[in-house]
Amino acid sequence: MKIGRAALLLIAVLLALGACGGGEDTLVVYSGRTENLIGPLLEQFSNESGIAVEVRYDDSANLALLIEQEGDRSPADVFISQSPGAIGFLAGKGLLAPIPEDVLGRVPAQFRNASGLWVGMSGRVRTIVYNPELIDESELPASVFELTDVAFRGKVGLAPENGSFQDFVTAMREIHGDQATLSWLEGMAANDAQSYAKNSAIVEAVGRGEVPIGLVNHYYNLRAIAEDPETVTRNYFFPDGDIGSLLIATAIGKLSSSDDSEAADELIAFMLGQSAQTFFSQETLEYPLISGVAPSPLLPGLEDIGAATYDFDDLGGGLERTKELIGQSGLEGG
């Protein structure tokens, strides 16, 4: 009996030690995008370039915290962020190094940092997810500002602590001003908007009919349909460049502490190349950000929805104020 247990332990230790490899000449990526949405690309890059890549996956904000705490000693060379907020935070702390001009230039100016510290990789559009069994598409509003109307009382789900919701609020502040934004947030709180933990939880809740409408990214309902073809919920895009249909970029940048800056540049260039952009468009159903790659036929074209764009440059810096306003509005927690 005792020998069995000791042997088990020994095996465990050996296994664990075996997993502790990690050579010197590898490119270390901290990725806020999950493995399913970026892993195949990193593997492809590694095969094509001969550069070994190792990845740490976690939530973008947690990884930004980690990198900040690691400072100069960070093992990471590249940071991939699911939203401009987290990577903007690192840019603001002076922890990122500029990306070469020719790579930056592949992406429209509003989806990259003016100092070239990070660049957008793929786009997600803010949208309404709705349950057609509870509300007809014709009843959905033309602007996100109309959701404070009494007709939508208690009917809207949102995720005030979610990064992309906060990025959207920051953009709203920049375009419409703090006062209008605070009024909207307070209006939503007064209209009994329902707070959820995250986007996928909202799509699930709308599917169950807990709330007829949710404010999310376009990605999540497409994912829900891929999981379950019988999914009833649908996306609805606010028309005419309304801020409610804002295009938010996922982003990549390299650390100033990186000891392998050239390999980092190579990876970033790869992510803005044809094959990676096609992967984002066809496999993860996001909007490609370089010209010449078309979005998936499952998605409406950006021109068709008139997605709002916004220069995400000082999003990281602006987020503190955004959080203050959200806190002030009483949307959080309740």
């Binding site: 664990a16 270390v28 904000a61 996928s200 169950r208 807990e210 994912r223």
Partner: protein
């Protein structure tokens, strides 16, 4: 009493005390980080501590923790009693299955139970799980094993003599249970309850998904752009845990008789209560284990196995699970073994020491368990990065990861062993001492066999907690080291439900296998012998 024996005992005692203090200091690293962070950020504590946006979540967490603890204390104790001491049908199967809800990560438990119960869910004719009641129910059915496992271990070591005497004297079953048996297991009930209390305080996954405004939600919301608030709230949580853990000693009981596990225990006939007892045993399994499993299967089978990225559904290749499976098993076994050994001196001092020291060392260890895993992980990052260059090689290696697990979950093995040690009869040790046995020999031949069920129960708790651990694994594991839990997290984050389902299923099966192997196999073999 020879003076030589007395002086050697004092020496050994001093050594154990110093060891316990050193270990307790290690457990204070997370709080040290919170204090340092709060101080250097120049936080004005006053406004944060007294604002409504702090006090409300704190109060919410507190009342949720208290109510969940009471519920788990009741459920865990009753289940342990039914399984260990009655003729409950199928008790050998129940015994293996009952600890398993602890293996379900709370965010997975909440997601799957939301998909299972409520209007629009798979079982639509019940109220929706939401807010306080939702969090209470979900956390209760996922956390009762914190009480169940230590109490089960304790029930196996009580001396049957008192119960037999009570029954012979016409005490009746109810009277025997409350007057004779319960005082003997009370230390374990309290120890397990404290674990539930601390765990509920630390939980983020379930409360966030069930839309309950707990303090961990406020900490997470503030973590990136309002660091001083996040750190202050973390510190408040840690201080609350310290106070509660220190006051645990006020309600624990004096030593009572124990016996070695081989003695045949009194087994009560359920008689007319048999059906009711079966239902009572089945409900926690139904909610905490079967419902999530059925939802996992639903997610797996509803998906067409044709989707591009990720696990697509039934029939898709499962090879991607092999490495995470081995990593999970290895990390959990090592963490469980190390945690049990590391906290043993603290458990001893906690159970045997006098004065303020026992309360100080045990509450230092306990307090870490109340912190969200992210805070514990960031604290270790902070200290590892501050460490001199020569130690830099430790950063993000397997030993550091194990340290994170041990610091976070050490409270579990400590509570379980401490309960066992404090129930050791004092006379036994003195007899052995009179017979000239030295401290080491007394520990190995007298104490160890008696406290082993408690230690093994503690190892089981750490094992299950490590299997589902997320924040420290994500931040501190050697790069590329993925576990089943991190796989589940990645899949859940972007709505890959079929993948969440299959990996969760594998995690539950692995948990069952390891729990049986480590915690339950021996007792089962003994049962067959008797």
């Amino acid at each position: 009493m020879g003076s030589r024996a007395a002086s050697s005992a004092t020496h050994g005692g001093a050594f154990v005390r110093w060891l316990a203090v050193a270990i307790a200091l290690l457990f204070l690293f997370p709080i040290g980080y919170l204090i340092w962070g709060t101080a250097t950020l120049g936080t004005e504590l006053g406004p944060t501590v007294t604002s409504r946006s702090t006090l409300l979540p704190l109060w919410n967490s507190l009342r949720l923790a208290v109510m969940t603890t009471l519920a788990c204390a009741g459920i865990g104790t009753v289940l342990a009693f039914l399984v260990a001491r009655t003729d409950l049908p199928g008790r050998r199967i129940w015994r293996v299955v009952l600890p398993l809800p602890l293996a379900v990560p709370s965010f997975v438990g909440a997601t799957s139970l939301l998909a299972a119960f409520g209007p629009g869910a798979l079982i639509p004719f019940v109220p929706r799980l939401d807010g306080y009641w939702g969090a209470f129910l979900v956390l209760t059915f996922l956390s009762y094993p914190y009480v169940y496992l230590p109490v089960l271990a304790r029930l196996r070591a009580t001396s049957p003599a008192l119960e037999e005497a009570s029954q012979l004297l016409g005490g009746g079953r109810r009277r025997t249970f409350f007057k004779v048996l319960f005082p003997q297991i009370r230390t374990s009930v309290v120890a397990g309850s404290l674990l539930v209390f601390l765990y509920v305080l630390s939980d983020f996954g379930a409360v966030a998904l069930l839309r309950y405004n707990a303090i961990t939600r406020a900490i997470f919301a503030a973590r990136l752009f309002d660091r001083s608030t996040a750190l202050t709230l973390g510190l408040m949580l840690a201080l609350l845990a310290l106070v509660v853990a220190a006051s645990q000693r006020l309600i624990t009981t004096a030593r009572v008789s124990v016996t070695e596990a081989k003695v045949r225990q009194v087994r009560y006939q359920l008689g007319n209560y048999r059906a009711g007892a079966l239902v009572a045993t089945f409900v926690p399994i139904l909610v905490g284990l079967l419902s999530p499993i059925l939802v996992f299967l639903f997610w797996i089978f509803r998906s067409p196995a044709t989707v591009g990225v990720g696990y697509g559904g039934w029939g898709d290749d499962l090879g991607f699970l092999a490495e995470p499976l081995l990593n999970s098993a290895g990390a959990a076994l090592v963490a469980a073994a190390v945690a049990v050994l590391v906290v043993l001196p603290v458990s001893y001092v906690g159970a045997r020491g006098r004065g303020w020291l026992p309360a100080a060392v045990t509450s230092a260890v306990s307090s870490v368990f109340a912190l969200p895993g992210l805070v514990v992980a960031l604290a270790l990052v902070f200290w590892a990065i501050q460490a001199p260059e020569s130690l830099a090689g430790v950063y993000q290696t397997f030993p550091l990861l194990i340290l994170a697990y041990v610091l976070h979950f050490g409270a579990q093995s400590m509570q379980a062993s401490q309960a066992a040690i404090s129930d050791l009869p004092a006379g036994l040790d003195e007899v052995a001492r009179t017979l000239g046995a030295d401290r080491r020999r007394r520990f190995l031949t007298v104490d160890l066999p008696l406290i082993r069920p408690g230690m093994v129960a503690g190892a089981g708790l750490v094992l299950l907690s490590t299997l589902k651990e997320l924040p420290a694994t994500l931040l501190l594991a050697p790069i590329g080291f993925q576990t089943l839990a991190t796989k589940i997290w990645g899949a859940a984050e972007d709505g890959f439900f079929a993948e969440v389902g299959i990996v969760s299923l594998v995690l539950v099966v692995l948990s069952a296998a390891l729990t049986w192997l480590v915690v339950l196999r021996r007792p089962a073999a003994e049962l067959l012998e008797t």
